[in-house]
């Protein structure tokens, strides 16, 4: 096994303020950035705050910005950097700092609550659900989401525009709407809920100008823009501007398009 000393700059501070601190720390073969942060905790900075859990890219807890790019610390291998690089680790910029690398991601939980849940199809008993694989593939892709909120962090609509937060759910939760809208058995329409319209009217789908930043940072490789946001935009637009839909709505038919 080979090891070397790496230069790290880690942001330390709290809501009052903070600064980048320099550390020199040992790195071994095959390690990831989170290993190095843990080594700092164990040897140099025992009260360094970091949020993590599974350390296997499955829970989406250890999100941070590494050299300015939103990433999971547990899935960022040290071997992607040059041994002479200084590696800068900072908290997610779009959310308020709690301490050091930990941010308050409450924004995301609020948005999750604002999206109406799956509506079970009336008259279909548990155990009687029948769906074809081809019809669930797309929503399953979106359900791979581990809620690391890297897409929420990188999205320019909120990254530098705090004031957009109330009216914009962010890529993760617009994708959640798309997931429910594409669920073969979701019965929202039977309750008079038009998910496409709420995406547009209540959750700020129109702010998205499909720069695909969210897709680029997704550690699960979900095609957020192409498979969720663009189709949702198309479907929302269809409904808004399609005169037949408009007429159908007016005379109370074609509710579920």
């Amino acid at each position: 096994m080979t090891s070397y000393d790496a230069s790290f700059r880690v942001w330390r501070g709290d809501p009052e303020g903070g600064e980048l601190r320099d550390f020199t720390v040992e790195v071994h073969d095959g390690e990831v950035v989170l290993d190095i942060i843990h080594r700092l905790q164990a040897t140099q900075a025992p009260d360094l705050a970091v949020r993590w859990n599974c350390k296997a890219g499955k829970c989406g807890s250890c999100s941070a910005e590494i050299n300015g790019r939103p990433r999971l610390m547990c899935m960022t291998r040290m071997s992607v950097f040059d041994r002479t690089d200084t590696i800068t680790v900072t908290p997610l910029r779009a959310f308020p700092v709690v301490r050091d690398l930990v941010t308050d991601v409450g924004f995301n939980y609020e948005k999750a609550r604002s999206i109406p849940a799956f509506v079970p199809p009336p008259g279909v008993a548990a155990g009687e659900y029948r769906m074809q694989q081809i019809d669930v593939d797309r929503s399953q892709e979106f359900r791979k989401c581990i809620e690391c909120f890297l897409c929420q962090d990188t999205c320019h609509v909120v990254r530098d525009h705090e004031d957009n937060k109330p009216s914009f759910a962010g890529p993760r939760f617009l994708m959640r709407i798309a997931e429910l809208d594409m669920h073969p058995l979701d019965a929202a329409a039977s309750e008079g809920l038009d998910r496409k319209r709420t995406a547009q009217d209540d959750h700020g789908l129109g702010y998205c100008n499909i720069t695909k930043c969210c897709t680029e940072v997704c550690p699960e490789g979900i095609h957020i823009t192409d498979n969720a946001l663009i189709p949702l935009k198309e479907r929302a637009a269809d409904r808004k501007y399609d005169p037949l839909v408009w007429l159908g709505n007016k005379i109370g038919r074609r509710r579920d398009g």
């Binding site: 095959g30 009260d47 807890s61 709690v98 939980y109 155990g127 694989q133 669930v136």
Partner: protein, 635 residues
């Protein structure tokens, strides 16, 4: 007794659920739907619990892929897997109720993989006679946790409509830790908690507490478990006076990653083998054919050809021995490595690359493909993986009533999921954990809600208890000169358990482990931390050490006592399974009052007899099979 009064925020709830994994969330949903105001408290963010790590699937005998399956077959497999030590009534309820629990998830929005006729697809797994695991690729745990999380959000949306407050009936206290279950006399009265973010203490008061905290893997060095798995619920139960059952049974999953070192222990799902992956040693041999134990001889293929045919024609061939229960496979891998036939990094080879097309591998095992590619530079569609055993699951846990999940001896205390003992006997089958969480999570929530509603008066929390809990929690900040580093203590504990009470155990080593644990307890009493209470991981670890040390003492003591090998307890000095031990449960009871000297034993072992298995359940097995497990008197 402290001379100060701790001022803390106190809140009143009907049911408190400690832990927000599959069992905790399912319990919370049930309690809330039964009308109980329910608080969930968890160490991580809501939706990040360890359940997300579960990969392969949920075992439920829906019979969607093979119509011969039913609850009786599932029950039989579960008892065989646990080597008949299972609390049989739990295994029965589990097998009967699992299908309903899975179907219910669909009504909450879960999207499982489908069969050609549109039903929930089911896959093969070790120890299960038929394809039984409902799954979503290899991320079934994520689907489970997200579905439960979204169901909770739906209930909160409903509460908001009625009360204007999302959290009026069901609230999640995330990133908080419980350090004590508080009592009023004999009965449960609430929990003492702190916010990890601020370090602020608070008390939740309720007549019913459900423990759903998962396992203990962080006491071992090589583990598939995350930092949360510090045996909190096990320790909270002990400290509240409730005994733990069969703590010697710890499951070492046969296939964890072995390289690179920083990911050593991370799980490689059993689905790899269920879908056709094979184990080979350095000589290229499929060695599992040499390790089929007598009790399973008739049920497993004798040749590679037969095993390979089974995937296509399971009715006329027997399954390959790679799909033996986990304890058997883990021991076999251990033996191969020890005999010098291991892989370069001390494991064996697990190969799917020569067994199915690359495209199929990427579709069926997407997160394994991803995990090896990203973390080990290994392309599993082109080359074999290196794997070895990793501490994965504890079968032992809080002794509970089978029907109600109520902890023995402490009214108002319930336990469900991994923290509860009994269900899996000496070894858990893959896929039986997620179903366990749902079946007994629901039962715990139901009975906790009923218990809370039936309480004639609310129990009270005495100030003196709060003061004592606060003092205990603050102790690491007041360590004297020569304070011990909690990280160092933790590493030494993990090394001790790994080396001396690990996958293969010996009398002398376990005695040594108990001595070292006593020393570690003494040192842990001096564990000290710097800084303040705000998000201070060193402090959190110092508090978790108490739990890990207690649980480790239980494991080592029980393992030393049980002089046989069975399931997740293998002794080199007592290699055989002994029928005389079959009806024996080992209970770990707390020594009361807790001794002042930290080196003194905290746990007393008690042997007790298991309930006789009901005759109609015994009748599900052939007599020839039963004689391998049951003692003369039991037959």
């Amino acid at each position: 007794m402290p001379s100060f009064m701790t001022q803390v925020d106190r809140q009143q709830w009907d049911v408190i659920v400690v832990g927000a994994g599959g069992a905790g969330l399912r319990a919370a949903i049930e309690a809330r739907e039964r009308g109980a105001r329910t608080a969930v408290i968890c160490k991580s963010l809501f939706g990040k619990a360890h359940t997300v790590m579960a990969e392969g699937g949920i075992a439920a005998s829906m019979g969607n892929v093979n119509g011969h399956d039913n609850w009786q077959v599932h029950f039989r497999d579960t008892m065989r897997g646990g080597k008949f030590l299972n609390q049989w009534r739990m295994a029965e309820l589990h097998a009967q109720e699992a299908p309903d629990r899975v179907w219910e998830l669909e009504t909450w929005g879960a999207l499982f993989d489908r069969t050609a006729d549109g039903r929930i697809s089911q896959r093969n797994f070790g120890g299960h006679e038929y394809p039984r695991l409902a799954h979503v690729g290899d991320r079934t745990g994520l689907e489970l946790i997200r579905t439960l999380q979204q169901k909770i959000v739906q209930l909160q949306q409903q509460d908001f409509k009625e009360t204007g407050d999302h959290e009026s009936g069901l609230k999640v206290f995330q990133e908080c830790t419980v350090t004590r279950v508080l009592k009023d006399g004999d009965r449960v009265a609430g929990t003492f908690c702190y916010e990890r973010e601020s370090g602020r203490f608070f008390v939740l008061e309720a007549p019913a507490v459900v423990l759903a905290t998962g396992g203990i893997g962080k006491s071992f060095k090589t583990t598939s478990n995350s930092w949360e798995y510090t045996g909190d619920g096990h320790a909270l139960a002990l400290l509240a006076g409730a005994p733990l059952l069969n703590m010697e049974f710890v499951q070492f999953h046969p296939t964890g990653m072995v390289w690179p070192p920083s990911v050593k222990g991370i799980l490689v799902t059993e689905s790899v083998r269920g879908d056709g992956g094979v184990l080979r040693n350095s000589e290229g041999k499929r060695f599992m054919f040499d390790y089929v134990p007598d009790v399973f001889k008739e049920k497993y293929a004798e040749s590679e050809e037969e095993g390979d045919r089974w995937y296509e024609d399971p009715d006329h061939n027997r399954r390959p021995p790679e799909l033996l229960p986990r304890d058997e496979v883990a021991r076999a891998i251990n033996a191969e490595v020890k005999a010098g036939r291991g892989s370069p990094h001390g494991g064996v080879f697990l190969d799917v690359s020569t067994r199915m097309p690359a495209e199929t591998i990427r579709r069926r095992l997407p997160s394994m493909y991803h995990q090896f590619k990203e973390l080990a530079d290994v392309d599993i569609t082109a080359e074999p993986m290196e794997v070895g055993p990793t501490c994965h699951y504890v079968m032992g846990g809080v002794a509970v009533d089978s029907e109600t999940a109520a902890a023995v001896g402490v009214p108002g205390l319930f336990a469900a999921g991994e923290v509860a003992g009994g269900m899996h006997g000496s070894n858990r089958l893959g896929g039986n954990s997620l179903s366990d969480l749902l079946v007994f999570g629901r039962r715990a929530g139901l009975h906790a809600a009923e218990h809370a509603a039936a309480a004639a008066d609310r129990p009270g929390v005495a100030q003196r208890e709060i003061d004592a809990a606060a003092q205990e929690a603050l102790a690491p900040f007041h360590a004297d000169e020569g304070a011990e580093n909690p990280y160092t203590l933790h590493q030494e504990l993990q090394q001790t358990m790994n080396d001396l009470v690990g996958i293969i155990r010996r009398d002398a080593e376990m005695r040594e482990a108990l001595e070292r644990l006593a020393v570690l307890r003494t040192r842990a009493a001096r564990a000290g931390v710097e800084g303040h209470r705000q998000f201070n991981p060193g402090w959190h670890l110092a508090l978790d050490l108490r739990n890990m040390l207690l649980v480790s003492e239980c494991v080592a003591k029980a393992a030393l006592e049980r002089t046989e090998s069975r399931g997740g307890h293998t002794r080199e000095d007592c290699p055989g399974m002994d029928r005389a031990w079959r009806p024996v449960n080992l209970l770990c009871r707390p020594v009361v009052p807790a001794p002042a000297d930290p080196a003194a034993d905290r746990i007393a072992l008690v042997r007790c007899a298991t309930d006789p298995i009901r005759p109609d359940l015994l009748a599900l097995f052939e007599k020839e099979e039963l004689v391998k497990y049951l003692s003369e008197e039991e037959l």
